[in-house]
Amino acid sequence: MSSDQTLAFETDCHIFDGCGFPAPGLHSFTFEPMFSIGGFDFTKPMLLALLGTVVIVGFFWAAFGKAKVVPGKLQLVGEAGYDFVRRGIVYEALGKKEGDKYVPLMVSIFFFVWILNLWSVIPLAQFPVTSIIAFPVILALIVYVLWMGLTFKKHGFVGGLKNITGYDKSLGWVLPLVMALEFLSNVFVRPFTHAVRLFSNMFAGHVLLLIFTIASWYLLNGVGIAYAGVSFVMVILLTALELFIQALQAYVFVLLACTYIQGALAEHH
């Protein structure tokens, strides 16, 4: 049962065969370990995460390893990606002077998230690693630690608290309410949504792709074949949509990270 549900293409179940639609679900996001070392189960998402690392480092090594003033094609592509994050996100949010320090982190986050998302549509991989909550969480946690660290380093303990709680005397009697809300937002909600936004987008996207992929297979029987075609067209369209969402979510993740850091560095208002 387990492999039938995890790997949609191995099922013999078709419509009119008397078996129900093997709908995707949470079980689609758990994998049997590929191997175990002393109780540590190594799974497909882990492999894809490490492969993503290899892809990113390999690409940038090939592009920037022997960077030339007159760039080759690969270097040009790498520069375009690098510049997109550097200028398009970091400098936009933080300014060139403040932002320069955080460019390597943000570039790394962007490409890490993007490639891990991208596995979703790569044949054989076909799984967005970021739909495992641990991967967005670790990245959001890194940003959160940096964000809080910068807040207290820049403003001191009291100033940092004021920064986090949005302290502003001119608010008068609503100030306690605002402070409570801001504190809640900054300390708990933002890091949580930061991770969950990426996770849920990739999770939902993968479920959608699975539904139509499984359906395309499931409907391949009798009159269902016509509907299988429709379903397959949906797979193609959703794959295109996912390609867009993957890049967009990577962009949003980095943009939010920059915005949080910008908030930490901002003076009291």
Binding site: G25, L26, H27, A49, L50, V57, F64, P104, I132, I138
Partner: protein, 181 residues
């Protein structure tokens, strides 16, 4: 993997092994990018900017130089034109002066020649008049001596008489000339 096991798991609770793997994977990425590859490309980008700016500066310098040379040539050309105009003017003036000088010289020489001619004529006329006067006197004396039959010995008296006679003749001639005028 059993479906029941999967359903028990909360998808929002991160499993520790994945956290660790995620951290390691990301650490590797950021290590290579931050330590080696991004500084690499930053250096190259800076070099490229410097090269482009240097190239532009060079081009600007070359353009400025070309402009300078062009202006120099124009100035030289204008100078040369000016000079040639000045030389032509000078030559014209010199030529005119030369002609005027030669004309004046010719005039002067002509006047000199004329004056010399006049002087010569006057001198000749005077000499002729003196000779004539002597000859007339002598002839008149001889004639008078022959007519009177006596020799007019007294030279002084002789010449005084002749002179008086001649003066009278001259006066008459002058009166006639004035009357004629």
């Amino acid at each position: 993997m059993l479906a029941s096991e999967g359903e028990k798991e909360n998808p929002l609770v991160p499993p520790i092994p994945e956290l660790v793997i995620g951290l390691i994977a990301f650490a590797i990425v950021i290590f290579f990018l931050a330590k080696k590859l991004l500084p690499n490309i930053n250096k190259v980008l800076d070099e490229r900017r410097a090269a482009i700016e240097g190239g532009m500066e060079k081009a600007e310098a070359a353009q400025a130089e070309a402009q300078q040379v062009l202006e120099d040539y124009r100035a030289q050309l204008a100078d040369a034109r000016h000079e040639s105009a000045r030389l032509r003017q000078e030559a014209q003036e010199q030529g005119a002066a030369l002609i005027a000088e030669m004309r004046a010289e010719g005039q002067r020489q002509r006047e000199e020649i004329i004056a010399a001619g006049h002087t010569q004529i006057e001198a000749d006329r005077k000499q002729a008049a003196a000779t004539l006067r002597q000859d007339v006197g002598k002839l008149a004396t001889e004639l008078a001596g022959k007519l009177v039959g006596e020799s007019l010995q007294d030279a002084a008296r002789q010449s005084r008489t002749i002179d008086r006679f001649l003066d009278e003749l001259e006066e008459k001639a002058e009166e006639k000339a004035e009357a004629a005028r």
